[in-house]
Symmetry: C2
Subunit: 153 residues, 2 copies
DNA sequence: CGTGAAAAAGCGGCGTC
DNA sequence: GACGCCGCTTTTTCACG
């Protein structure tokens, strides 16, 4: 699916605030509200808009600690990779998971309420998984920027 | 502000899909729609709900490449740290930026349309900054999970 | 907090270009 | 095929009990 300038304008707004009314969006991009709606529907069906979510402050829910983990696995067969993906994916503490090239195989962004909780998670995810060769932990001290907006330009 | 089980239930749903109607949410948590609405408003004003956004597939916008970078800086004086924070923060390609402990000082999540674009960015951000000791790049091959859901349990 | 009414937004059909 | 216009339906929103 190919996106024109209208679609890009709509996405730019939706990435900032997806509760903006279709009429307001229409005024911003010079389109009628139904036209905006049709484009949003199309982009959603095409998978371009993947989800609509509320961003919640982790500290309010007691999950104050953000941790980055680089995971190196032993056997890089596609079956093992898929198994690892699925395991990371199902853990609620694992916020983001990427399969990467470089000195590691996976990069995880994890959110936990405390360091003991993280230790418990490492026991389950890494020490309890004999396909994990090693992992490196980075504890976030400051969240400088949490961007989700893909540049539309 | 203290959250009860109703609030947690509402947040759990909103983090998955913030377009869910208040009536549906109310049925799920055993509350009337206006009660749900009041709680959402309160949590938004309290900053617990920080934003409502559409998650967009970066590839659809031509920013197909996600890159993780660990940055190690030379001088860890607070002035240098702050300067680095500000520089990373202002770049639109830098989606996420955390100041971390461990073998690196910063972890960045970067989104670029191509590898040449990333090379150009490294020249500006890292090679052009004589306070950067070294950096390690991880190119994402697969986006397994882009979680934003803080566990509510 | 829940009920119920008013306002607004979402949604679909139809004619037009 | 996509647009805008016009109703209908759903949702949001705010009074009041």
């Amino acid at each position: 699916m190919v996106l024109d300038e209208f679609d890009r304008g709509i996405l730019a707004i939706l990435q900032r605030d997806n509760l903006t009314s279709q009429r307001t969006i229409g005024e911003a991009v010079n389109l009628s509200a139904p036209a905006v709606q049709r484009r949003i529907k199309k982009m959603t069906e095409a998978g371009i808009i993947q989800a609509n979510v509320a961003i919640v402050d982790p500290t309010a829910l007691g999950h104050a600690i953000t941790i980055f983990v680089e995971v190196e696995i032993i056997s890089e067969t596609s079956g093992q990779i898929e198994a690892a993906k699925r395991e990371f994916e199902t853990m609620p503490e694992v916020q983001q998971c990427y399969y990467v090239t470089g000195e590691a195989d996976f990069v995880l962004v994890i959110l936990v309420p405390s360091m003991p909780a993280y230790e418990a998670l490492t026991k389950k995810l890494f020490f309890g998984n004999n396909n994990v060769k090693k992992f490196r932990t980075f504890v976030a001290m400051d969240r400088i920027k949490v961007g989700l907006q893909v540049p539309t330009a």
